[in-house]
Symmetry: D2
Subunit: 302 residues, 4 copies
């Protein structure tokens, strides 16, 4: 992959332990390679970075060629929403455990920088999703955007919500449940997994619709093409619900309201360094293996 | 089964449609069989029953031989907690759909009465469960009692709770989840089922411990003998949680608190008329059948 | 949709009860509309149809404009494999229960014919999948083709198989299990569903990989884009396994062999009449509804 | 716990690597503590043990006070069936990975011996289960006995079996499936777990009935008290099935046959040394933890 990199934007979760040290190392690594840093004033002030903050710093119309995002997966989720209209690719540096979205460890920062400059990477287009509708547009004129998932959940912990889901104008089914998760491919390993959903490769172009504690014997996820138009309606009988984007932004949803979920127009452009394997991260983070976890008994007879 | 029935107590969910008519029929059926009615003043006043309310009416020390409970399963759950110290058996009359706990339809009331008098019934002891601990005793000196389940759930819809479960003093595991359900046998078809738990026959003497949306690939229920002592501790890192009994009574639970769940000392004594079959109710309410729901394809080849 | 229909091919499962009557009605309906029938000699002889069988009848290079397939979903699965190189679309007439693939009831045959001629239909491209490799090519030079699923299963009912799955050259994971299902979108409601897999809309361009009884606590399906190359290898330690296509054709697989599963080059072109809704069939066949199956208890309190 | 131990019986899986060395160590440990060894001739001959085999060696009427079983869990399953009528307790020494039933490592053998003599152990009664019926009695006059599970499975890998389950004379449901697992508490971590069943504490007095790939949207296990009488009938429409006990002994089951599964009259009396914790083994063998497997995303926001 080739990308003409001259100026690198920095976005950091300033609350993470160790973020100051890593940012200093990053600035050093960038400048020593003859590149420029694009950073906002708060980050400079808070961390004492010896660079000049860009006075016109902007996430929507940034003046840089790519972004480095420092934090956990939550930091990247937050960044992704704000970078929706920015065409520049993003590389995540994790400041804690290995992340699905922040795949580079801080001590691999210099090597990562060299790989970037040598073009040893590829860009994954991670589809983002959008909820729109009257209930949302008051506070989010553009709708609510998510990289992982849009979740409709109950507010009152003792009452189920009742919702109807339509796909491309056709009734899918009604749910009486604690909530409903509409997940992007990227989000399959987040809340959807906890609710029993399948593992979806980021390259599979699908929504995963997973009910949370549906009051039926059947609790399967439904997989829909990413070009589907998913309408979720709160039935008249339902107590109020809440719509949450990536576990970070919320708005209330009264009975008899409808939201429409579609693919967002732009994806997050995630940089993956050469050698990165999605399934490795999956197995490592989820301690997943079909072979080594032996429940014993049948099959290992005398 | 033989039971010397002279006076029948009435407990009704006065908010249910049709309750007035059914209560009048019940009183008529009771009195015409030479039996007495035991009822509180609010029920008499609200429904215009032509009987005298018992001035010393009490759920704890009732002056009757058995109870008729009119309503849905929720009504019976509520009654069961209040009748914990009452040794008298209970028959449920459903005022809506067939219930797991309210198995008699209103139009079967007279026949049910005759069956009772002919001894054509048996009494099922339905184990109840109790949560105790400092967090609870302020408001519930006797602990929180449940016939279905005790549920620890998150309050903030965007933050998981972190809890540790110990069984008879031994660590079971730690959970990072939306909540945890500790269910009695009776409660297996309620919230536990929605969270993916197994179907437990009411006669199986077990707790079912089921995490709600645990953030792992593994989400199995754990089945424990009813003589187990289950300690649930909110870890220091957790946001506040809420403990709810049968979806009806709640109390908050801060971090670093422990509750202890055990079998309650008395069961609910549920009357089942001759011919009642638990699995029939199960199949009917859950529309459950392994044979008729044919997903097609494999196995029905040319 | 417009399709120039002059000659209609007939394919029937001659073993199904009622097939003779329906075929006679079909021929009558076709001829009375001025169209021709394309049929093989065995069908004519076996059913006494008053048409002339085509001497050069062929599935690979058929001389017709579309096919009517009479039978169950299994009949359609069988037909689909044989029609792989035929570009003509197919309409399924079910001779029993409603099918996912055979959506027209026999008594709707005349109306269906009229809708076809009026262009009131659309054609769904149902992706088919293919397994290839040395183990297969002996008996199936073109590989094994499936519309629903390719299933690797154990032969010895008391010994698990051990397999490795690689996706686009990267290790997914190793499985110790009873078997592995690689399902097309169409096949998600067949064996994959029985093994716990999600419901996949036929328009979602994905494989679903679902282990059968994997010996781990984790048993999630994995969803992969249909352009993936899935390699399944039987490990050296495994007992012999069997590969089956749509539950209909099989071949053995010894240890240390690898098969490659990809999308087949041509889809089945399935005719759906106007008004057909996939989710209706889904709810009807699976008796699926999130709202009506009420497990009672929590949430419907007094 | 106190047990008067003078003579210790040895049972070993002679095919396991390292068994000879461990047996020599065991004999040395036993004799040096002034105890006697009870062993059969094949074991003595095969391993060159310097003890005299007991000429009247018998599993049914053994002349010893307890047994040491050397092998894996499969070895213990095999031993348990043969020791059904022996009242003597059993301690398992694993010759490979930690087992659920073989909890002592070979290098802990001497310490284990001392703990036994000091009474630092307890005996767990592990309920065994029994299948009886005409289909079985030909080859197994006493029925088929299992410590883990009795499994009915299909013989033909492309055809489902159809069975009916009755509990205490009442219809549970009919299943169309690959098989059915009836598991003891001990067996919950074996095949039942692979088929999606819950984790059952060995002290919970229940059967777990788990269908294998049932062709419905609902696939829950059913938990029944161990005093239940479970009848499993192969329906007239089913292809032949196979009944297997602990994955080790099998017999065929034609259509229209019924087997009855009940608790066996005697349990396995399993010795657990002081300090042994069931849940530790569970977490270790299943790599199970609700807390550490973090799927990321929601909840760990900025």
């Amino acid at each position: 992959m080739s990308l003409d990199i001259k100026k690198i934007g920095l976005l950091a979760n300033l609350g993470k332990p160790g973020v100051h040290t890593v940012l200093h190392q990053a600035v050093e690594a960038i400048i020593s390679r003859g590149l420029e840093v694009y950073v906002d004033e708060q980050t400079v002030r808070s961390t004492g970075l010896e660079v000049t903050a860009d006075p016109g710093f902007s996430l929507e119309k940034p003046d840089c060629d790519m972004w480095l995002v420092f934090g956990g997966d939550g930091t990247m989720l937050n960044a992704a929403r704000h970078l929706l209209h920015s065409p520049h690719p993003v590389l995540g540096i994790n400041l804690g455990r290995l992340g699905f979205l922040t795949s580079v460890n801080p001590d691999g920062l210099c090597e990562a920088m060299d790989m970037l400059l040598r073009g040893e990477f590829r860009i994954e287009n991670r589809s983002m999703i959008r909820a729109s509708g009257p209930v949302i547009s008051d506070h989010h004129p553009e709708g609510m955007i998510a990289l992982n998932d849009l979740v409709l959940s109950r507010v009152d912990a003792t009452r189920m919500i009742e919702i109807r889901v339509r796909v491309n104008g056709q009734l899918l089914t009604d749910y009486r449940c604690d909530g409903l998760i509409v997940s992007s491919p990227t989000g399959s390993t987040a809340y959807s997994l906890a609710a029993g959903g399948p593992i979806v490769h980021p390259g599979a172009e699908v929504f995963t619709v997973t009910p949370i504690c549906p009051h039926t014997l059947s609790n399967r996820s439904v997989i829909l093409g990413l070009d589907s138009r998913i309408e979720v309606t709160s039935l008249s009988s339902t107590p109020p619900a809440m719509l949450t984007s990536d576990g970070q932004e919320s708005c209330e949803m009264e009975p008899n309201r409808t939201i429409v979920i579609t693919r967002a127009e732009n994806p997050l452009r995630l940089i993956q360094l050469k050698g990165h394997q999605y399934f490795n991260t999956l197995r490592q983070k989820l301690q997943w293996s079909g072979l080594h976890n032996d429940p014993g008994g049948a099959g290992e007879c005398q």
